[in-house]
Symmetry: C2
Subunit: 378 residues, 2 copies
């Protein structure tokens, strides 16, 4: 069942029940405007476009906000995520991932009758299955080839190995060769600025070489897609990529906040807008507190959450429904019932635990946005 | 939104879409019968009862199965979880946790008008708030005092500190002193059998001393609740605890499977019944595969999942929607589209990612059970 929202519009922030997923609308809107402005500044001469990743927010309301600020559409990872976006009014979706298995492929090509939909592939048999389904549904589906630019996850090796697959796509009546998916996911969280840039430079060289090789064979790459919040400035400036997939920039998280800028300092240009609101449910000792937000309220895959605005309070351990705090300053008053905001270690899987964004401004709840693609993994 | 199920009843297992949460009904039923049999064998002379923890399964269908096998009710961690159980037909719920804040307390005491409901507390102001709400709703709410028996999370220190709180509860017209919550959570995953037993022996000593102290003051502990899947045999044999809260035993997970028995061997008496079904979506190299099940399909807080039945295939890394495999045996055929079963590292937060159990027997889908309390954190 969809859970009911932990708040009502108009309520003061401190009346919101916990755990709740909070969105600071001012910070969120500034983040959207900031990246949109940067891309608009780069765009005119280079054709670089923004197609933010909807896997971060899973919310058509947010996708449409991004498009209203200039994004050309969104990326999704799953067909069910793409369905949620299209049904929520998003007209243009790149599924930046392989879609495998007849039921999912049928839904993908059927969705392409309702909106502009493209997909990625890295396997000949999968391309054949996509073509068969697209032909059956009477659509011509754009397919980007995912290439491995250093993350060593999915993807064909750059250069020659891409050629045969691109020719197969181009020769498939139900498909159209759409370009390359060249996402260096492993680079996003390299802390050191220069090393992060080096990883993208190396990915760019592989991508450029592949684009040129395909071009010499008459296979134009309309779209060269990649980049995340940690590296997008490098891809944007490269003249190689023309679509940027950054997603986390709207929210940020404790992991991304640790990336270092060119000045060697952490933080960066985007503000933390996403928080998990939690209540102190137990204060057994002077230096120990327990929150009502554990593993089912905040994802700890990239480390523990941080407590916003309290350097002296440390979230040290999550169990299923408890978050254990160490209070390093004995003067810190944090009685049972106090509420505080956590900065999640990793925004995407944390969002996936909730059905609602509790959007606030000036300490008042202004909107409840449904996370329509929560749990959309099929 | 609730996601639609990834399967239909009657379908062969290998037609189930992925990622899906699978439940092997034979193994699951044997696990339920095994613990029920053990408790029934201990019970007659000692009054030891089973009250399994519903935070593991979040599913009234399973709770009622447990009660049909002798359980006296279930435990929950959250009011919303308790609501899901009561609305699903469960007549008796212990909220084995502190409930803080007026909205939640109102729902808790109101729920006590619909079913037998008890709660835990470790704070005088919280007890006063419970009493006020219970009085307003005209119920008499049993309250157990949570004591810290070594996990150093919530709970009053055993012995003297419990006395004042017990007296406060006993003197509250809306409340009834119900006994002690003495759960040693930190002991559940101590690998060594003797050390695990030592931790429960120490917890038992603290609990016994507290029960006796309260008894001398005329405060009888009707219920002394505790134990988990890792330690329940120690609590059951102690003559101190009389309610056992084990939850994971119905499913098991990769973490619990690593606990060592008295013979120094891992495994134990319960079978793995819970799996995440996943599809190979990419096979870029001979030794690398990628699954469609990542952080949003399996919780990695207690380590990576294991691949069931394939010692030579290792799940080495999870990203949002990808699970990276290393294939240690070059002869392993695992082509794109192959499906396999993962043993989650930690069952509880993995269950919380899904809306449906796909229950199967003899490789055929036999039932789809709704995970009614998925996301129920309020």
């Amino acid at each position: 069942m969809t859970t009911r929202p932990p708040a009502e519009v108009g309520m003061p922030l401190d009346a919101v029940d916990t755990p709740a997923l909070l969105l600071d609308l001012d910070a969120f809107e500034r983040n959207i405007a900031r990246l949109a402005g940067t891309v608009a500044g780069i765009g005119p001469g280079t054709g670089v476009r923004l197609r933010p990743h909807a896997k971060s927010h899973k919310c058509p309301v947010i996708a449409l906000r991004q498009m209203a600020s200039g994004a050309v559409g969104v990326c999704c990872q799953k067909v069910s995520e793409a369905e949620a976006m299209v049904y929520g009014g998003v007209p243009d979706v790149l599924v930046s991932n392989q879609i495998v298995g007849a039921p999912k492929i049928a839904r993908l090509v059927a969705l392409a009758k309702q909106a502009r939909v493209a997909v990625c592939a890295d396997d000949a048999a999968n391309v054949a299955a996509l073509n068969e389904a697209a032909t059956a549904f009477g659509v011509r589906l754009p397919v980007l080839i995912e290439i491995n630019v250093g993350a060593d996850r999915c993807g064909v090796e750059p250069g020659e190995p891409v050629l045969a697959l691109a020719k197969q796509i181009a020769a498939s009546p139900g498909l159209r060769f759409g370009g390359l998916q060249a996402y260096q996911g492993a680079a996003q969280h390299i802390r050191d600025y220069t090393k992060r840039k080096d990883a993208i430079d190396a990915a760019g060289e592989k991508t450029r070489r592949t684009v040129e090789l395909l071009g010499r064979q008459g296979l134009a790459c309309d779209v060269v897609s990649g980049a995340g919040t940690g590296t997008y400035r490098f891809e944007a400036a490269s003249r190689i990529w023309n679509e940027l997939q950054a997603g986390s920039y709207i929210f940020m998280d404790a992991d991304y906040q640790q990336n270092l800028g060119p000045d060697g300092k952490p933080g960066g240009e985007f503000e933390q807008s996403l928080f998990v609101y939690a209540t102190v449910m137990s204060r057994p000792t002077k230096d120990r507190g327990v929150l009502d937000a554990g593993l089912k309220a905040v994802s700890v895959d990239s480390g523990m959450p941080r407590v916003a605005g309290m350097q002296d309070v440390e979230y040290i351990r999550a169990s299923d429904e408890h978050g254990k705090l160490t209070l390093h300053d004995p003067r810190r008053a944090l009685s049972v019932g106090s509420k505080l905001r956590l900065i999640p270690g990793h925004c995407d899987p944390t969002v996936n635990l909730y059905d609602w964004y509790v959007c606030y401004r000036n300490n008042r709840v202004e909107a409840l946005w449904p996370i329509s693609a929560r749990g959309a993994t099929l």
